[in-house]
Amino acid sequence: MSSSPAASERSGAGQRWFLHPWLTVRVSIALGAIFVAAALPKVVDPPSFAHMIYNYRLIPAPFLNLMALLMPWIEMLAGVALILGIWRRTAALLVGALLSVFIVAIGINIGRDNAVNCGCFDLKSADKSQEELMGEMKFVVVRDVAMLVMVAQILAATRANRNLRGREDSLFGGEESS
C-alpha cells in the first residue's frame, strides 16, 4: 500500500530532503568529526580509558585493556573515513555498531543503578554526585540515539544513491566512496 504512487508522492518531498547529497555530506562530516574528537583523548591516554571501561563493570579483565587500545582507533579511522568520504557506508555501519554498543553499555548501567562517567569525550573524572551522573547517562543515551539517526541518514542516502546509479555506488560524481 505504501508503495503506491499516491503514497510515494506524499512522502516524496520529505524523502528527497532526507536523502539529499547536500545533507549526507554534512552529516558525514559532522559525525566523523564527533568520532575523531571522541577518539583523540582515548588514543592519547589508553590507561585512563581502560579505567573508564573498568567502571562500566561489563568487560572481563583480560579483554579490558585490549578494548581500551583498539576501540579508540576504530572510532578514529571510521571518523576519518566519514570526513573524507572514503568507504562512507562501511564507516557509517561501524559507527552505528559502536553507538549501539555504547547505548547498551550505558543502558545496562542505568538499569542496575551503577553511575559512571561516560568517558565519551573527557577521560577526567568530574566532581558529580550519583544523581548527576545518572542524569548525564540518560542524556548520553539520547545523544547516541540522535547520532544513530545520523548513521541511518548516511546509510539510507548511500543506498538510494546506489540504486539510482545502478552498479555505481558512489555518492558524488562517480567517485568510489561507497
Binding site: 589508553p46 582507533w73 561501524l94
Partner: protein, 243 residues
C-alpha cells in the same frame, strides 16, 4: 558482491585499527602504555550504592575517579574496619576478617583521633590483602618513614604527592614489573606499607594492595580517605615526576 565489498572494507578498517593500536602502545611513553592483558579483580562486580550498603551518603569528591564505589564507614567500625564488600572475596566469611588490635582499638571520635599513640603498631595481616587506615595513622607512619605508594596515575602524582612516596599506578603497563622489583629491593614483606589514591570511591590503592599481597606482602595499609584528606590536613606535599 556488495556484502563482500563491505566485509573487505570493514576488515581493512579494523585491521588498520589493530595495527595503529599495536604501534601506538609500543611507542607510547611509559605512563601512557597499558599491559595487553589486564588483571582487574572486580572488573565485572558492580559496586553497591552507598545508601543500599548502609554507609554514609557518598560525598562529592574532587578527584574521585570511580563513581559508585561504596563509601566505607569512617574508622569507627571495630568489627572489620578494613572489610569491603566489593574488594573482599565473597567466599570469605566476614567473621574471618579480624582487624589487628591496633586498628580495631582506633578511637571513635574525631577529637580522639587527632593524636595517635606513638606506640601504635601495624602488624602484618596474612589473612587479607589490606587494612584501611585513617589520616592520623598515615601521618604517624609518615613520621616513621614507612614506605608509601601512590596508586594514582603518574601524571597526577607529578602534580602533588606525599613526600617520599613512590608512583605505582595500577593502570600503567609497568606496574607488575615495579611490584616484582620490590622483592629484589629487599623491602620487608611484613613491614607496613601505606598505599593511597584519591579516597572516596577510588579503588586503585586496593588493587595495588592485592598485587602486593599476591607476591607475599602482608603489611599493606590503604589510606582510606586518600590524598585529598592528606591535603586537607595541611600535610607536606611534594611535586614532580616519579623517578
Amino acid at each position: 558482491m556488495i556484502n563482500r565489498r563491505f566485509f573487505v572494507e570493514a576488515l581493512t578498517l579494523v585491521a588498520s585499527a589493530i595495527l595503529c593500536a599495536v604501534v601506538a602502545n609500543l611507542v607510547a611513553a611509559r605512563d601512557r602504555k597499558v599491559a595487553w592483558v589486564g588483571d582487574y579483580k572486580n572488573a565485572l562486580t558492580v559496586p553497591p550504592r552507598a545508601s543500599s550498603a548502609g554507609a554514609a551518603a557518598v560525598p562529592k569528591s574532587a578527584s574521585a575517579p570511580l563513581e559508585s564505589f561504596p563509601q566505607l564507614p569512617v574508622t569507627t567500625a571495630p568489627a572489620a574496619p578494613g572489610f569491603n564488600p566489593i574488594l573482599e572475596p565473597a567466599s570469605r566469611p566476614a567473621a574471618a576478617i579480624v582487624a589487628p588490635a591496633a586498628i580495631a582499638a582506633r578511637p571513635s571520635t574525631a577529637a580522639e583521633r587527632t593524636a595517635p599513640s606513638p606506640a601504635k603498631t601495624f602488624p602484618p595481616h596474612p589473612d587479607r590483602p589490606f587494612t584501611e587506615i585513617s589520616g592520623e595513622d598515615v601521618a604517624l607512619l609518615f613520621q616513621r618513614k614507612a614506605t608509601i605508594f601512590d596508586a594514582r596515575r603518574s601524571s597526577v602524582y607529578a602534580e602533588g604527592h606525599i613526600p617520599g612516596s613512590r608512583s605505582f599506578s595500577v593502570w600503567e603497563a609497568d606496574i607488575d614489573d615495579k611490584v616484582k622489583d620490590l622483592l629484589s629491593e629487599g623491602l620487608d614483606p611484613e613491614a607496613p606499607v601505606v598505599i593511597y589514591c584519591t579516597g572516596g570511591h577510588c579503588e586503585d590503592s586496593h588493587m595495588l594492595a592485592e598485587k602486593l599481597y599476591k607476591i607475599g606482602f602482608n603489611g599493606a595499609l590503604v589510606y582510606k580517605d586518600g590524598f585529598p584528606d592528606w591535603q586537607k590536613r595541611g600535610s607536606p606535599v611534594e611535586t614532580g615526576m616519579p623517578k
